[in-house]
């Protein structure tokens, strides 16, 4: 009950922020539309249908589902850091809320925004030419570990950094997620050590997991385990740091 009341407050704070709507929902949709237009223009100009396969909607939409989630770490981090900066958390810490109430109360609404964002991406993707099949549901399930990961990043950033710092640090994370996920270019184009590092980190694995779940091709187990492992580590780390801050 207490946790749900707190989660409800956080949902309102998130959804009443125009930044959340603009970047959380609007930006991925705009990028999907923009990339489709660019891809079509390039194809028309060159006469080749598949000049940039990662921008084919069946590839781009899963990538965008995951990339869009990276913005949630920014929103979640700003919410928590803001509560710390203006002493709202100090007021709450003097209440009977438990550490679990805080973590779940912050994570739950961010998770719900993540789900809504993924569903909107799927809807727009289908409207722009993604294959309409039951595998879209699998893609939605496959995006959950990535949602878990970025919710964890949000909790961690908000617990460690101040409101002003969170924006800068999150933009680094968002850039890492963009460059190392294989959403915008094929990692094979660079290859070598870069690709090896990308394969260890969660960003490309999370995208590959959703792409494979949607296309039905390839083994997802390694992608799933790596993404879940990172998500668990980040989430546990965030919980430990948050609890430590509570004691301070």
């Amino acid at each position: 009950m207490r946790m749900l009341a707190f989660a409800s407050r956080n949902r309102k704070e998130l959804t009443r922020d125009p930044l959340t709507l603009l970047f959380g929902v609007g930006f991925p949709v705009v990028l999907l539309i923009l990339m489709t237009i660019i891809n079509n223009s390039v194809s028309a100009a060159t006469g080749v249908a598949d000049t940039t396969p990662q921008f084919q909607m069946d590839n781009l939409m899963p990538g965008m589902m995951v990339f869009g989630l990276s913005f949630l770490s920014l929103f979640g981090g700003m919410l928590i850091a803001g509560d710390r900066d203006n002493s709202f958390l100090m007021r709450l810490f003097s209440s009977p809320l438990s550490a679990w109430d805080y973590i779940a109360g912050y994570a739950l609404p961010i998770f719900l925004v993540a789900l809504a964002q993924s569903i909107i991406c799927i809807g727009v993707g289908v409207a722009l030419g993604a294959t309409l099949s039951w595998r879209l549901l699998l893609a939605l399930v496959a995006v959950l570990p990535a949602a878990f990961l970025y919710v964890g990043f949000g909790l961690l950033l908000g617990s460690v950094f101040s409101y002003r710092q969170v924006g800068g640090v999150s933009s680094i994370l968002i850039n890492l997620a963009a460059w190392m996920s294989g959403t915008w270019f094929q990692l094979e184009l660079i290859g070598g050590g870069f690709k090896a590092v990308c394969n260890i980190l969660p960003f490309a694995n999370a995208v590959d997991l959703v792409r494979k779940a949607f296309s039905g091709s390839g083994d997802v187990l390694a992608n799933l385990l790596i993404t879940l492992a990172w998500a668990s580590v980040i989430f546990v780390l965030a919980t430990v740091v948050f609890k430590k801050k509570m004691k301070q």
Partner: protein, 243 residues
Amino acid sequence: MEAIEIRGLTKSYKTRLAVDDLNLTVHDGEFFALLGQNGAGKTTTIKMLCCLAVPTSGDALLYGDSIRDNENAVKQKCNVSPQETAVAAKLNVRENLELMGQIYGLSKHDAKRRATELMTDLSLLDRQKDKAKSLSGGMQRRLSIALALISDPKILFLDEPTVGLDVRARRELWNCIRALKGRVTVVLTTHYMEEAEALCDRIAIMHEGKLRAVGTLDELKEQTGLNSLEDIFLNLTDAEVEL
């Protein structure tokens, strides 16, 4: 039973002793001021009493419950209005109050009823639909106090309740605080002499973490032989003075 019994309360950080062996009693229903300049240890004392900071040594009993051994019982008995307004900016006045009520275990219905009572008491009813961030500084302070009262605490801690407010807003807030007399024990920190004089039954003067004096204004005058609280404060907090 005494509202607060502080016994040898001490808080030290790596390089600084914030509160040094504080011994103090606050009576039931009393309005009590902790007066001191910035860094005197007032806020740290309040944080320890609200279980927001763990004492390095010593203990305090709030209506018989130890801040060390019975944190949950203490948290149910007291509430705090922090130095910053500490409101949920994008929630309106009513939503802020209902949220805090539910966090303290009230049902939705009871939280709604209690929110209406407090908005009436603190003249916030006509602003109930306004987002907290749109309120003036004085209104936000009133909301902050209302949020602290939603749990119907036995002890209310007000940390620098009027800092940064203009004269009119300060006087209005004083009236709100005075109206609490008889309903709750109030401990407020301030560095405004006139605030302590206007609102409080007894005053404790802190300096560099130590308690320099405690008593009614008349008692403090008698103890020091001085006629104004300002003179008493300056005399007791002079760096050369060692009691």
